[in-house]
């Protein structure tokens, strides 16, 4: 039983539900699939309710890439043959182990065929029994393998064993674009991934405090964006020079409010770039109570300077839950690289835990907010990051 799969069958998920918008969703999904497979050689086909990738060189590589496309439910490496009894029997025999307990599950989209699914399952099972010389046994419930035969209405049938689960969610882009505040820590890439899963195309903004954070810290963020791009497609990373703002806050505001006011600046700048780039929301990796700046009061104070909705998909997650996802999406190892990602030199010993908006506003009066932001946005560098791009 060794067979070269010549086709990968793709099932998509939730977009079935989308009624009249279905064409829009499907077009987007297909575009995303093609983008994910871009450097590979392949042919893409679609038929009612299924997509197929054929003419590829390496089934595993195609599968790995498809597993990361949001909007896909599952994929199955399959053997594609003409729908014809003898051919089907032959293919089934070629694919199956020749001992153990098995079942055959047939699905028949082509209702014109002169047999029912159950009859065909029985026939294929019979062919396998004969071929094994008695070493195979049928057991519909306690089986070692389940040979699936999907008979489509395009004249072809697809034989497969595995249904490999994909990332689920919605096709990236169908929910618009969002601006992710990407720090370099563990949480923000996970937050970005979760929102991309709901169809959000990602922009990311990173605040760079040279010389307090160096080139390795920036490289870390680029590497994180690159990992995300395997799921989300292109990520536009906006690197904002932040040192001057930090200096200004440090000089003119009380130390206990350093972080609060710094974060208010980050939100303002993120929103400004977000609006320029037509993003409909900001995304942060904040998790309630994780650190002083992530209390409800702190979030209120930082939230109050922006008009766009702020999505915090990990707000209710425990650290372990976030780490689980970070490991799954391969960002964890990058996030824990030991480079400073926030300017710890400015970290006060006792940051305020329950700041009030009025206090923050009061202290900020000492700063020329608009011109500081203007300058930072003006000097922001935009880096386009795609999978396989050398960054």
């Amino acid at each position: 039983m060794s067979v070269e799969y010549n086709c990968i069958l793709i099932r998509f998920g939730e977009i079935f539900l989308k009624g009249n918008n279905r064409k829009y969703f499907e077009d987007l999904l297909i575009n995303n699939i093609k983008a994910a497979l871009k450097p590979l050689k392949y042919t893409f086909l679609r038929s009612q309710g299924r997509y197929f990738v054929e003419d590829f060189e390496n089934a595993d590589e195609v599968t790995e890439r498809l597993k990361k496309v949001f909007g896909l439910h599952s994929v199955s490496p399959a053997l594609k043959v003409k729908t014809d009894k003898e051919t089907l029997f032959e293919a089934a025999v070629k694919m199956s182990p020749m001992s153990g307990k098995f079942r055959v599950t047939v699905k028949r989209a082509d209702k014109r065929l002169p047999f029912t699914s159950a009859e065909m399952a029985g026939n294929i099972g019979g062919a396998l029994l004969r071929a094994s010389g008695g070493r195979l046994k049928v057991d519909l419930f306690d089986y070692d393998f389940d040979l699936n035969v999907d008979i489509r209405d395009n004249g072809y049938s697809y034989l497969f064993y595995d249904k490999i689960p994909c990332a689920g969610g919605l096709p990236v882009g169908c929910s618009g674009s969002g601006m992710l505040l990407l720090s370099g820590g563990i949480d923000s890439p996970v937050a970005g991934w979760l929102m991309a899963k709901r169809g959000v195309r990602l922009h990311a903004v990173h605040f760079h405090s040279f010389p307090y954070t160096g080139e390795p810290a920036l490289q870390k963020v680029k590497d994180l964006a690159e990992k995300l791009s395997h799921y989300t497609g292109q990520v536009n990373l906006h690197v904002v020079p932040f040192t001057e703002i930090q200096y200004a806050i440090h000089e003119k505001c009380p130390a206990s409010f350093m972080i609060t006011i710094m974060r208010r600046f980050m939100m303002r700048i993120a929103e400004k770039i977000a609006r320029k780039k037509e993003c409909g929301a900001l995304i942060t990796g904040e998790s309630l109570g994780q650190v002083a700046s992530q209390t409800m009061q702190s979030m209120n104070v930082t939230n109050s300077v922006v008009g766009l909705p702020v999505f915090r998909p990990v707000v209710a997650f425990d650290k372990e839950e976030i780490i689980d996802i970070a490991q799954k999406i391969d960002t964890f190892e990058i996030s824990i690289r030991p480079y400073e990602d926030c300017c710890t030199v400015f970290l006060p010993k006792n940051p305020v835990i329950r700041p009030r908006i009025s206090e923050a506003e009061e202290y900020e009066r000492a700063l020329d907010i608009d011109s500081l932001i203007e300058k930072a946005v003006e000097n922001t560098e935009e880096i386009v990051i795609t999978p396989d791009s050398r960054i």
Binding site: P211, Y212, Q246, H250, E340
Partner: protein, 374 residues
């Protein structure tokens, strides 16, 4: 660019590059081959061994490796040691030695750490107290990569042998060989060297083994290097190493004089900063000058200097990285100083002119950054 990170690595010198090129393109033969070209290269490799041996002033063998780290590993894992016996290393060792010792610990050896003083030198009286018949292996670095502290390895080896003549004494000489005068006494059994710290390419090192020392291979295969280190010899790297080693040996006096002038100048200038602790002292190797700031992180200073086209090293990559704090802690640094370590390391290609530009720039940068601390 002013490059003051020569203890990390050095630029390949022209002469070494030319030699490497010759072995890449013309004398590219496999030294194990039985035809003339192969034999000739084998002879060249043996000549390279003699160059190293004579530079160390020792009798024994030289095995070429992929670098200083592999030489240290070979010393630790290739030498004979009594099961479950005691191994002593110093608290200032490079990770290549420290991690090797940790592996021995996992294998049942007792690993003891000899304390160092504030400059990184092994405290001899403390070291001597740790010795005994149970000690089978000692590894003390010749020159500290963090501070330049020079250990009197001949004396430490003598003390070791006096306590147990069967004990093996190894020294990591990566920051010494080709930089300061090295004369290994008979008590030194193993000595590690690296090529890329002295103007040869990365990827080559050597382990000196005294006459009576038997090494088992860590890398097995075709039986090169007398079976001690298999793998086709990196002929270009080895020959370039020998060339660079010869050059540094020939210019040792001048090099020492020139880096000492730079070190002494900067030492004095840096002494006047009130929140800077000098880690290195006058007895340290003049190629290295380490200090710690009590108010600014080393990494921040490094980045700020980099922007002014000056490259320096840091002791600690980051406050959260425990591995990089091991040695600074052993040197007795604490609090903010732990994260404030900066290491300047020089080569004979650095000039006083550069030292003057450095101190001027450093003073400006330091003053500017300090405005924002606290």
């Amino acid at each position: 660019m002013i490059y003051f990170d020569n203890a990390a690595t050095t630029k390949v010198v022209k002469e070494a590059l030319e030699v490497a090129n010759l072995y890449f393109t013309e004398r590219f033969f496999n030294p194990s081959a039985l035809y003339h070209g192969g034999l000739e290269v084998k002879n060249d490799l043996n000549a390279a061994r003699r160059v190293i041996l004579s530079g160390l002033g020792a009798e024994g063998k030289v095995y070429f490796t992929s670098g200083g780290t592999e030489a240290d590993n070979l010393a630790f894992f290739g030498s004979k040691k009594k099961k479950n016996s005691t191994v002593i290393i110093s608290a200032g060792e490079h990770a290549a030695v420290y991690q090797s010792a940790q592996v021995l610990k996992d294998r049942g050896f007792e690993v003891k750490t000899a304390p160092v003083d504030g400059a990184g030198r092994v405290i001899e009286e403390e070291f001597e107290k740790m010795l005994g018949e149970d000690v089978s292996f000692v590894s003390v670095m010749h020159v500290s990569n963090e501070s330049g502290a020079v250990n009197d390895i001949n004396k430490l080896a003598f003390l070791t042998k006096r306590a147990n003549p069967k004990a093996i004494f190894h020294s990591d000489g990566v920051q010494a060989g080709g930089k300061i005068g090295v004369r290994l006494s008979k008590n030194i059994d193993l000595y590690s060297l690296s090529a890329h710290k002295i103007g040869a390419p990365k990827g080559t090192g050597a382990l000196f083994a005294a006459k009576n020392i038997h090494l088992s291979p860590v890398v097995v295969g075709g039986g090169q290097e007398e079976g001690v280190r298999s793998s086709t010899e990196n002929t270009a790297g080895i020959m370039a190493f020998a060339k660079a080693f010869t050059l540094t040996q020939n210019s040792l006096k001048e090099s020492l004089a020139s880096v000492t002038e730079i070190r002494d100048f900067l030492f004095e200038k840096l002494s006047s900063f009130d929140d800077i602790k000098l880690i290195s002292d006058a007895a340290c190797s003049p190629y290295i000058l380490a200090f710690a700031s009590g108010s600014l992180r080393g990494e921040v200073l490094q980045h700020a200097l980099e922007r002014r086209d000056i490259i320096v090293g840091t002791g600690s990559a980051c406050s959260s990285n425990k591995a990089t704090r091991r040695v600074p802690e052993a040197l007795g640094l604490s609090g903010k100083y732990l994260e404030g370590v900066v290491r300047l390391s020089f080569s004979r290609f650095n000039s006083m002119e550069e030292a003057k530009i450095f101190i001027q720039t450093f003073t400006e940068v330091y003053k500017e950054l300090k405005n924002y601390v606290g």
